[in-house]
């Protein structure tokens, strides 16, 4: 297990550094001029040169990259002041330390993603189990058609409808908002409810359909028959044997979806006017704010890599045939 972790972490580090380099150099390959964002209306070539100097953009790109990466490990000094490690630089657009902004935004994205994931994982697999248990009955048919509908929906559509109906129309729920769970767990919960609900509606379909077919597959497995031949009850066979087998692929799918939840955070956060990493990523791109973009990429990348390690470890716990080494 330890060797597995060490190896995966090393791999993750390599990938992250690689992505950071690609991001950094790609940024300069694109037609972007960060200076324009801070140039007001008096934007002469002189003014651009001055701002480029202020931003450190007058140096060769590899040198800038080196300074940036070194800053993450060792901290960096700017004209504004010292930026302690991990230093992701100062934002081009608002002169804030990027790290502070990320620390402020990350919990929002995490709350949306993990909370939503918890809901759709539990409800989705639950519905799939029900459908599998009552295969061929009306319950199964209802869920199957519902999941077809859910699968065709998109966050921005369901999100807008949910806001219009649940908040503006029926006043059942509050406008989505983020309150730190540490300050007010109840507000945190009610503020996140709609995003979770909407994410669930969209993702539940996949999980219920997948769980159903996996369960049907698993229930036909030899070892499940063996369990029945031993006199195990229906429930035991269903959950302890068949579901255990169905769980591993579900966890794998979940690992992939966790990545797409982070990626989809952009749309989720815009739909619900929330401030997370997704929005930060978009604004950093449109504001050609390289330090923020780099910070978001690195943190997002790390989050996805860590999530994948957790998923792999979980998979190994579920299926002992998978060896972690």
């Amino acid at each position: 297990m330890l060797r597995f972790l060490a190896r995966r972490l090393l791999g993750a580090l390599v990938i992250t550094v690689l992505i950071s380099a690609i991001t950094f150099f790609l940024f300069f390959a694109l037609p972007a001029e960060p200076a324009l964002m801070s140039c007001g209306k008096n934007c002469t070539p002189d003014a651009v040169a001055l701002i480029n100097k202020n931003l450190g953009l007058d140096q060769p790109v590899p040198v800038q990259y080196w300074h940036y990466m070194a800053g993450i490990v060792a901290g960096r000094d700017f004209t504004v002041g010292h930026c302690p490690a991990p230093c992701f630089g100062y934002s081009f657009s608002n002169q804030q330390p990027v790290w502070g902004t990320i620390v402020d935004r990350f919990p929002t994205t995490l709350s949306i993603a993990l909370g939503g994931a918890a809901v759709f994982l539990v409800v989705g697999t639950g519905l799939g189990l029900l459908a599998a248990a009552f295969r061929g009955t009306w319950i199964d048919k209802l869920f199957s058609s519902l999941s077809l509908v859910g699968n065709a929906l998109q966050i921005y559509f369901v999100g807008v409808v949910a806001l219009a109906v649940l908040v503006s129309g029926l006043h059942w729920m509050d406008n989505p908002a983020y309150h730190p769970i540490t300050e007010d767990p109840v507000k945190w919960f009610t503020g996140m409810l709609i995003p979770w609900l909407v994410l669930s509606i969209i993702f539940i379909a996949n999980y219920s359909r997948m769980t159903r077919s996996l369960m049907i597959e698993q229930l036909a497995e030899d070892h499940v028959r063996t369990a029945r031949a031993k006199g195990m009850g229906r429930r035991t066979v269903f959950f302890r044997y068949a579901f255990r087998g169905a769980l591993a692929p579900v966890v794998t799918l979940f690992g992939i979806d966790l990545g797409s939840l982070f990626g989809g955070a952009i749309i989720t956060e815009f739909t619900f006017s929330l401030h997370g990493l997704g929005r930060l990523a978009v604004s950093s791109v449109s504001e050609t704010d390289l330090p923020t973009l780099m910070g978001v990429m690195l943190v997002g990348c790390t989050a996805i890599v860590v999530a994948n390690i957790v998923v792999d470890a979980t998979y190994a716990l579920i299926d002992p045939r998978v060896r972690l080494a």
């Binding site: 061929g136 497995e221 030899d222 070892h223 499940v224 028959r225 063996t226 369990a227 029945r228 031949a229 031993k230 006199g231 195990m232 009850g233 229906r234 302890r240 044997y241 255990r244 087998g245 579920i318 299926d319 002992p320 045939r321």
Partner: protein
């Protein structure tokens, strides 16, 4: 045989498939007394495994219809409610499956899988059940059972897995053991060990055994009685000695001919039964074996094609050939 522990009468098993109904078992009757081993022999698709599953009531009622009577120690199995069956399975009657790699759960330790039915049927504590699992593993010849009890099936060799499955089946001292091709996946030496193990255990416990196999060699080695199945029906029945020495059904002749013998020269080809088993969707009229039978002309008229031969009670064969049958 009045003291038969397992008594099957006119058993029919029908599967509903997309193409139509498959009549997998078609009016089968047999008995197995305590302490004896019945070998059920036949090609694949002859209905022997379906018979085994019917004895445990394991067929899926949504796709399968089981009629007739299966009595275990006097208790009727067919149509019995699930809770009753659950109490019998693994307890009174247990089953050993062919492929131990797929038949054991990859997600649970061997010990857990052995202990689980013991706890359920005897109400033993977790610790007692675990000790029982260790004992059982020892009994079936697993070295260092206390160490191996927490291993997963994939950490066992094929032979060890099959032993573990036997341990699992016998953990509650069942009165009937159904072993469905228990040695097919194993190499010859291991095969022999497993069969000896089954014999030994039977001598200790007096368990009745139904040994389902396609291999007459296995039957010759292990069984007391033989039931030859063809196309869902019994073709021939008798003691191992009788059936192997004086087979009466042309199909049994074919099976015996296809059996490799140690004294057969290596370069002499085996003589398998020519042709393929009939489709059970549309079984042939008359004797189901007649399309493959070389002796139909010895029977008068069209009888083989039109008239279904009956298996007489006791020793006998379902064939229209008279007493003059010889190979």
């Amino acid at each position: 045989m009045d003291d038969a522990f397992l008594s099957v009468r006119d058993l029919h098993v029908r599967f509903r498939t997309e193409d139509g109904t498959v009549h997998a078992v078609d009016g089968l009757s047999f008995d197995v007394p305590r302490g004896r081993t019945l070998g059920i022999v036949g090609e694949s698709g002859s209905g022997k495994s379906a018979t085994g599953l019917a004895v445990l009531g394991l067929h899926d009622p949504r796709t399968t219809t089981v009629t007739g009577s299966v009595r275990l120690g006097g208790q009727e199995i067919t149509g019995a409610p699930e809770p009753v069956l659950e109490k019998l399975r693994g307890n009174t009657v247990a089953m050993v499956f062919q492929d131990s790699l797929t038949a054991l759960s990859p997600y649970h330790t061997v010990g857990h899988q052995i202990a689980e039915p013991f706890r359920k049927h005897t109400g033993a504590s977790r610790r007692e059940a675990r000790q029982r699992a260790v004992d059982m593993l020892g009994k079936v010849g697993i070295p260092h059972p206390a160490l191996r009890v927490d291993d997963y099936p994939h950490q066992f060799s094929g032979g060890m897995r099959q032993r573990a499955m036997i341990a699992m089946a016998l953990v509650c001292d069942p009165q009937l053991l159904i072993a469905d091709e228990p040695t097919t996946a194993l190499d010859v030496t291991v095969q022999a060990q497993i069969l000896d193990l089954l014999k030994d255990l039977q001598q200790q416990t007096g368990t009745a055994i139904v040994l389902i196999t396609h291999d007459l060699g296995v039957v010759a080695r292990t069984a007391d009685d033989v039931l030859v199945m063809y196309a869902g029906r019994a073709a021939e029945r008798g003691t191992v000695r009788d059936v192997l020495r004086t087979p009466r059904h042309p199909y049994t002749w074919g099976l015996l001919g296809s059996m490799p013998r140690l004294w057969t020269p290596v370069d002499q080809p085996l003589t398998p039964v020519p042709g393929a088993p009939p489709s059970l969707l549309t079984p042939p009229p008359g004797c189901p074996f007649h399309p493959r039978c070389a002796h139909t002309e010895r029977v008068g008229g069209d009888r083989c094609r039109t008239e279904r031969p009956e298996l007489p009670p006791g020793r006998g064969a379902a064939c229209h050939l008279g007493e003059e049958r010889t190979r």
